[in-house]
C-alpha cells in the first residue's frame, strides 16, 4: 500500500568547519563556514525512502525552513530520492516552536501518514521540534528511533527499513534508544518519529539522482502564508566558548589529593 512520508532537511554547519564565536558574542562567525544537511535528518530521509520502497511506492516530501540557501539541502534530499520539496522561506532568527508550527501547518495540508524528523540538529542540539509537532498534531510519537542490528549488518547492506509498518499501514513498530538499552514501541498511525544515529546508514546521492533532483519541484511558502507567527520566543543574548581546560597538577600524596578534591574542586 503506497504511503506518504514527510521528512525534514535542516541546513546546519558542517561538523568539520571550525566554529568561532563572533565579536559581538551573540552568535558565530558565518564567513567561510561549510554547510550540510543535518545528519539526523539525512537518516530520516534514508529511512523514509526505504519504507516507501518496501511498501510498494508512495511519496517522500522533504521540507526545510530558512533562506534560499536551504535549497542546497532540499536538493540533497531530492538527489537521494525524495519526490518533491517544500521550502518555507524565512530569514532571521528561528526557534523550535516556529519550525514545529510551520511543519504542523504543512502536515495539515499534505496529510502524510508519517513524519520522520531528526531527533535534534547538530548545530544547537535542541531536541524539541518532533515532540512539539506530535503534541500539536495530536499524533503518537516515537523519539530516538534506532535498531537492533549494527550498521555493518546484512539487513543494513540490503537497505531494509528499521521502522516496521504493519501491512495495513495502521501501526508502526519502532525500536528506540533509551538509557541502557533499546525499547520497542508500537505506535498508531499517523505518527511522528525522530531518528537516532544508529537507525541506518544514509545512501550516497547517486549521480543520476543529482541530475534528476535539478528538475524536481520546490514549492514555496512563508510562515505568514502558513499562518504561523515567526516571532522568536527565545533570543540568544550571549554565546561563548567553553572555558579552556587548565593544565593538570601533580600532587605529592593521596591526602593532598583528597583535600584538593574536597576543598578546591568541591566534588566530594
Amino acid at each position: 500500500m503506497p504511503i506518504k512520508i514527510l521528512v525534514t532537511a535542516k541546513r546546519v554547519e558542517d561538523y568539520e568547519s571550525k566554529i568561532k564565536v563572533n565579536a559581538q558574542g551573540n552568535g558565530i562567525v558565518l564567513e567561510g563556514l561549510k554547510y550540510k544537511i543535518n545528519p539526523f535528518d539525512e537518516i530520516g530521509v534514508e529511512e523514509a525512502l526505504r519504507l516507501v520502497a518496501k511498501h510498494g511506492g508512495g511519496e517522500v516530501v522533504v521540507a526545510s525552513v530558512g533562506t534560499k540557501d536551504v535549497h542546497e539541502q532540499l536538493r540533497h534530499a531530492l538527489a537521494m530520492g525524495a519526490t518533491r520539496a517544500i521550502w518555507v522561506n524565512h530569514a532571521g532568527p528561528l526557534d523550535q516552536m516556529t519550525v514545529a508550527g510551520c511543519l504542523q501547518k504543512l502536515i495539515e495540508k499534505e496529510k502524510p501518514d508519517l513524519a520522520i524528523l531528526g531527533k535534534q540538529a547538530i548545530d544547537d542540539d535542541q531536541n524539541q521540534v518532533g515532540q512539539y509537532l506530535a503534541e500539536w498534531l495530536g499524533w503518537s510519537q516515537a523519539t530516538f528511533a534506532s535498531k537492533e542490528e549494527s550498521l555493518e549488518s546484512e539487513a543494513e547492506k540490503s537497505k531494509t527499513p528499521a521502522l516496521q509498518l504493519s501491512a495495513d499501514a495502521k501501526t508502526l513498530t519502532v525500536i528506540r534508544e533509551v538509557d541502557g538499552g533499546l525499547e520497542t514501541l508500537e505506535c498508531s498511525m499517523p505518527c511522528v518519529v525522530t531518528t537516532d544515529l544508529r537507525l541506518n546508514q544514509p545512501r550516497y546521492a547517486s549521480l543520476p539522482g543529482i541530475m534528476k533532483a535539478k528538475s524536481k519541484p520546490i514549492e514555496e511558502h512563508t510562515p505568514a502564508t502558513l499562518g504561523v507567527d515567526a516571532t522568536p520566543k527565545i533570543t540568544v543574548t550571549k554565546m561563548e566558548h567553553p572555558p579552556a581546560r587548565k593544565a593538570g597538577i601533580k600532587v605529592p600524596d593521596v591526602a593532598t589529593l583528597m583535600d584538593k578534591l574536597k576543598n578546591e574542586a568541591k566534588v566530594i
Binding site: G32, R75, Y204, A205, S206, L207, P208, M211, K214
Partner: protein
Amino acid sequence: MSAGINRYKADLRELQFVLFEQFNFAEIAGKGPYEGWDQETAKTILQETYRFAREVLGPLNGSADREGCKVVEGSVITPKGFKDAWKQLFEAGLKQIAVPKEHGGQGAPFALYAIIEEITSGANTAFNMYPGLAWGAAEVISQCGTEHQKKLYADRMFNGVWGGTMCLSEPQAGSDVGAAVTRAVKQADGTFKISGTKIFISGGDHDLAENIVHLVLARIEGAPAGTKGLSLFIVPKKRANADGTLGPHNDVQVASIEHKLGINGSATCVLNFGENGECVGELVGAVEHQGMPQMFRMMNGARIAVGIQGLAIAASAYLNALEYAKDRKQGANFKSWKDPAAPRVPIIEHPDVRRMLLELKSHTEGIRALVVKLAAHRDLSLIYQGKDDEKATYHASQVDLLTPIVKSYASDEAFRLCAIALQVYGGAGYLKDWPVEQYLRDAKILSIYEGTNHIQAMDLVGRKLGQNGGANFQTFMSDIATFVEKHKSHPIFGKEVAALGDASEAVVSTAMGFMGWSQSDKVTLVPLSANRFLEMMAKTTVGFVLLDAGVRAEEALAKLGPTAADRAFYEGKRYSALYYGRNVLPQVKQLAELVTFEDTSPMDISDAAFASF
C-alpha cells in the same frame, strides 16, 4: 597504517578553482554534448565524490596494500572490502558520470571526470584501476564495436556488471608491442580461436563483477609481422550468450599473479589463453588488422588516466605532509637555534620544511591545471565538432600534443614529490604507520606502464612535434607567446612571465635543433635528448598554467574585502605561481643549454666499460 582509516585528503576549494575559475567549466557545461550540465551540479558531485572517497575507498587503501591479492583455485580474490566498494561505486553512479548517455551514463564533461578520477584514484589507486580498465575497454567497444558488441558488452562494462582489461604485453613484447605472438585462428562461424600468453595484465582476473571482458591484441594466421598485423579481440572470461546470460568458461587461465612494489590491491596477472584450445574471441568491429589504431583509443585515454593517477597520489601526499608539519614539534625557530631553552616549534616553521611544502603545493597544483587544460581541450573539441572545424581541430590537436606530457611529467613528478613528502615526515615517513611510504611505492609504476616515459618522450619528439606539419606545436607556442605579451608587465608576476617567455624560446630552439639532428648523422641525439626535451616542454607548460592561475587569482583577490575568508586561498595561488616561476621555469633555459652540448658519452662508452663484470 592501520586498517580502516582514511588518509586521503583533497582541497575542494582548489579543485573548484581549477575547474570553475581557471578553465571556465560554465562555458563547457550546457553546450553541445554537455547539455544538461551546470556548475552547481558539478560542485555537488565533487562534494559527494569526496565524501564517497573518504568513507568508502580511502579506508581500504592501506589494508589492501598489506593484504594484497591472492589466487585461490585459479581465481583472483581481491582485498577485503573491494567487492562492496565496487558495488557502491556503481550504485552511486560515479563511474558512469562521463559515460555517454546512450550507454546509460550521464555524459559529463571530461574536465569534471578528470577531477572525479583524481579523487577516487587518490583515495585508493589500486582499487580505482579495476573500474578504470572496465571503462577504458568499454570505450573502445563503444567506439569501434559492432552494434551487437556495443549492446552486449559496452553497456554492461560501463555499468559495472562486467569488468574489462587491456591485454597487450607478452614476455617478448613489452615496449615493443609489435612483437606480440598471441595467435588467432578463424573458425567457420566467423569467431576466432585465441591462443597465447599475456603478462602483466592489470585486473586480469578478479571477483568484483560476474564476468570480465579482455581486449586482446593477437595476430591472425598469415597476418604480417609488426604492429600492422595485429587485430583486437573481445575475449570474455565466461562466454556470453546474446541475451547477456553467461555460458561456460572460455579457457582463459590465471597462471599466476605478480608480487610487486606497489598497487598491491591491483591484481597483475599472467593469463594463458586457449591452453585447452577452447578460447573463443570475436573481432572488435568485425575488422581485421585494426588492432593498434583501435587499442590506441584506449591507450590515449589510459595515458591521461596514468597522469591523473600521479596527480592524485602526489596531491594527497602533499596534504598529508602539510598536516603532519603543522603538528610535529621539533627544534626551535631558526632565529633562536642556539638557545636550548627556546620553545620547540612545529616543523612547518622551519625554512626548509616550508620550501618542501611549497615545492609540493606548486607542483601538484601545476600538474592539476595541466591535466584539466588537456581535458577542457578535449571537451571543447567535441563541442565544436561539426560546428566550427577550425576550433575543433585546434582543441583536438592540443589534446594530442599534451597527452605524452601529462603522462610522463605527472608520473615522474609523482614519485619525486612523494619522496619529498616523505622527507617532510623525517623518520616517521619511512614507517608504515603513515601513508606516504605507500604513496611512494604506488607511484613508481606510473612511469612504466602505458608506455614507459621514454616511449612517451619519443612519441612527443617523433610524432607530436611534427604532427600537422608542426602546426599543433606552433599554435601551442603561440598561445604561450600571447600570454607572455599580455602579462609581461604584470605588477606581481612580471619577472616570472618573462622567465616563461625565455623558457618557451628555449623550447622552440631545442625543437629546431632536433629537426636538424633528424636529418643528419647526429640522429642518435634525438633519443638521447628526448626525455630532456619532454621535461623542458612540461615545465614550460606547467609554468604557463600556474602563472595563468596566478593572474586570475590576483583578479579575484582585488575584488575581495580585507577580511574575506577566501583571501588566503588566492594568496596561496600567488605563491604557487611565484615559486614555480622562480625555481623551475629558469631551469628550462639551462636544460636547453645542456642539449646544445650534444653529449654522446652514453653512446661513446662501450658496453664493457660500464662495469667490470
